[in-house]
Symmetry: C2
Subunit: 287 residues, 2 copies
């Protein structure tokens, strides 16, 4: 997916949020946001949205000297998700179809996305999560589980902190022994890194690798050799979230995309309305 | 009210919307939006938000040669409001307190605001309007009607197209013979001008003047001598919408502000949460 005119206000909103989180004084905030506006105005808009988001976050980190401005938010998201976990696990077990239920929870966790426009306040999260069991879903969890049972080597691409707590439940429901989880190589927005995988308890159940990149998505050419080797050798990729979808949706291979649709551009591309839970095979899937 | 860091993403969203509405080709859209981003980055942020919004809309009009890019949207908003009018008038008459009901309708019409973040799709409007009769309201319509009965010369500052159709009902419920309505002097965003007052049938019941300005609010110093004379001689000003609130909230005088709260900055300033219906005396009211 390439950047559209409609993406530009979203970049500016992300830039303003990053400025709020990394600069304390009003003059400093203004100075940095002006710089980011100018940078967006002058940047190449023919690239994927993730590239522009990456540029913005790099500038924020370089200019403020803060390597991880979203750390406090990510900790809050992880804590909130962990606090909700017991109740949600109980509710999940009451659902008729357990595979459908655990997939729904892992996808709905994607709403814990500080980078997205329709993100939820942690306080609203529990209320929202009560609605996910009956929410419309594009695609079929059964297809995902069938593909996972058939596969030998599964690479699970995590998306955000908080959300990753719910990913653990899905990973436990899938054939766990085949799975490796990949997280971002460096902090970017609220995307999960190794520390979040550890907090979510995922490092205790499967191997976790960092992808070597600071893009809020998966730009294969920027990822480490180790990550590329896992990616190329996997016979099933499970990709969480909009950032990974944007960057991988045109790739060939056996990829399942799991995400909550949060923007009109993704909605149009994927053919499902905003708010949908999606579990869909990649367009270029040959299998 | 002055511009805050939080206003900047909103300006960019407004700019992108104006670009979408006034330029057809992708290259032209991109060129104009880049220019607007640079203009926002370099502009004075110590002014009222309305000044920056005015600058953006001026640039769009100058660069595209379109004097009224929102005309089609305003026509749609007027039509939608006129279509809903008979049903809403019937529902309004079923309410226990007629003054409260007509005030609610005039304020809720303010959601027909293409410039605001939480604007409603015309199709969602009827659904929303069914909820307004019981929605929480900050302030008292009774105070407004009491002030109107006491006043001799009332100046009613309209806000947007569409909304102005519902203003007519409130104007008819107030002491109509004392009222003059003012609209914007030139098209800006979806704000009402003379043609909208005519479409709403307001010119048939009260005198209507244009304020001489292209600001999406009321910047007194930019308004015509005629408008200023009406403004200074009125012993009650009824001010609709956020743009008029932003620009007049610190003014002395007998002003009532009627608006739907649509942004966090206004919410904080006015002390009522987003989504509230507000009918409030100005802070510096001496009467």
């Amino acid at each position: 997916m390439n950047t559209a005119i409609e993406c530009i206000p979203c970049f500016v909103r992300q830039a303003a949020e990053a400025v709020e989180m990394s600069v304390e004084d009003k003059i400093g905030k203004e100075h940095l946001l002006r710089r980011l506006l100018a940078e967006i105005a002058e940047s190449d808009w023919s690239v994927m949205p993730v590239k522009i988001a990456q540029m913005i976050q790099r500038t924020v980190r370089n200019e403020t000297g803060q390597s991880d401005p979203y750390r406090a938010l990510k900790d809050l998201m992880n804590r909130t998700a962990l606090d909700l976990l017991p109740v949600l696990t109980d509710t999940m077990r009451l659902q008729q179809n357990p595979l459908d239920a655990v997939t729904r929870l892992a996808i709905a966790g994607n709403l814990l996305d500080a980078g997205a426009k329709t993100r939820l306040d942690p306080n609203d999260l529990q209320k929202h999560l009560n609605t996910i069991w009956d929410a419309p879903m594009a695609g079929s969890p059964e297809d995902l589980f069938r593909a996972a049972n058939k596969a030998d080597r599964i690479l699970y691409l995590a998306d955000n902190a908080g959300e990753i707590v719910f990913d653990r439940l899905l990973i436990e429901a899938l054939p766990t022994s085949k799975i490796t989880v990949a997280v971002r190589g460096l902090p970017v927005i609220n995307d999960a890194t190794l520390i979040d995988a550890k907090t979510a308890g995922i490092t205790q159940i499967v191997p976790v690798i960092a992808n070597g990149s600071d893009a809020p998505g998966t730009l294969i050419e920027e990822c480490s050799k180790e990550f590329r080797s896992y990616f190329n050798n996997a016979d099933l990729i499970i990709s969480k979230g909009q950032g990974n979808y944007e960057t991988l949706s045109d790739m060939p291979g056996n990829i399942f995309f799991l995400l909550t649709v949060k923007c009109p551009m993704i909605a149009a591309d994927i053919g499902a309305p905003i708010g949908s839970l999606v579990v869909k095979r990649g367009k270029n899937n040959k299998s």
